[in-house]
């Protein structure tokens, strides 16, 4: 049902069952308390007279993930079915190294929409020592719901290693 602006009652007006169903029952079902949320949700507006609960999701990569590819490789993990109102803020963190002194890069991006692996806005470290890094990316103009995944790649010959990779998606 959709939200309907409640009517103004006048003296001698009769409150009908239809009035109660439209202005009280149906409208209460459109409020936030009328929509049973899961835990850890935030409340957002979806449109005029329309609200929803959104879920903040967090996921972590395997203990250690490697690649020798110089093109982004989907190493996950995936967060599926992220519902949002047009924008998603992604917080990314992880520890990177490259055994031959080249760049090691890790990005997180939606699997649909205009971005692709998004190689520009990534955490990246150069050299064989472990570097713990973090960054954030705001994605917009993407479909809802959408899926997110992580991409790892190497800047040159050798192996890029990601450990303790983790990201959080905040739908807005």
């Amino acid at each position: 049902m959709a939200w309907t602006t409640p009517k103004t009652m006048l003296p001698l007006d009769t409150l009908t069952a239809a009035d109660m169903n439209t202005y009280v029952r149906d409208n209460l079902l459109e409020t936030l308390v009328g929509q049973t949320p899961g835990d850890d949700r935030i409340a957002v507006s979806v449109g005029p007279g329309e609200v929803a609960w959104r879920s903040i999701e967090l996921t972590s990569t395997a203990v250690s993930t490697t690649t020798t590819s110089t093109s982004p490789v989907d190493v996950g993990p995936t967060i599926s079915g992220v519902e949002h109102s047009g924008r998603v803020l992604v917080l990314i963190t992880g520890t990177l190294r490259h055994n031959s002194g080249e760049l090691a890069s890790y990005s997180v991006a939606p699997t649909t929409g205009p971005y692709g692996p998004h190689i520009i806005r990534a955490i990246r470290a150069q050299g064989s020592n472990n570097n713990s890094l973090s960054c954030h990316v705001l994605y917009y103009d993407i479909p809802s719901p959408c899926d997110f995944t992580g991409y790892l790649w190497a800047g040159g010959p050798g192996t890029s290693t990601l450990t303790r990779g983790q990201y959080t998606v905040i739908p807005l």
Partner: protein
């Protein structure tokens, strides 16, 4: 209208038009659903009216710019330049900022940060780099100043700085602002 605690009815009470208008209509119009005007708003509690919530729209402002570079002698004082956002007034802001940064020449350090209404950011809000290689750096902070919400807007803008005789280079600059009531 403001939220009013609904009356408790007892047997034999008659629901009057005034009761309905105050306890049902007016209170319904104070719910988040009635306040929602467009997509992408976050609900924040209003300190001026604790029993109601207001929508801060837009919830997030964003801007992305590709590239900027400054000459050495421009850094006698920090440079205020794009990206710039004019955001609705709120009590405070959660600010995310990021850029690819490098030292082109000179050194040792260059930095970037974010200002609010022209105020120079604190040292701990600055992202410093001493490398000639491009690295992406990002930071976030909650604006510590307490603002008075109103109808005016605030200017949130990048700030760039460097040591003397140093040329800096910034690309892929992102600025995201979440108003907090």
């Amino acid at each position: 209208m403001a939220w009013v605690t609904p009356k408790t009815y007892v047997a034999s009470d008659i629901l009057t038009a005034a009761d309905f208008n105050q306890d049902v209509r007016d209170n319904m119009l104070e719910t988040e659903t009635a306040k929602a005007t467009k997509a992408g708003g976050l609900f924040m509690q209003s300190t001026s009216s604790p029993n109601r919530f207001e929508v801060q729209v837009p919830a997030v402002e964003k801007v992305s710019l590709p590239h900027i570079e400054y000459e050495t002698d421009e850094f006698a004082t920090p440079i205020y330049d794009d990206p710039t956002l004019e955001v609705p007034a709120a009590t405070s802001y959660l600010i995310f900022f990021a850029a690819n940064q490098r030292v082109v020449s000179g050194g040792p350090a260059v930095w970037f940060s974010v200002s609010i209404d022209g105020e120079e950011p604190s040292l701990r809000q600055r992202m410093y780099s001493t490398t000639t290689g491009i690295i992406r750096q990002s930071g976030w902070f909650k604006a510590s100043k307490v603002y008075t919400p109103g109808t005016e807007t605030r200017t949130i803008q990048f700030v760039y700085g460097a040591d003397a005789n140093t040329l800096g280079h910034w690309t892929q600059r992102d600025l995201t602002v979440i108003p907090i009531a």
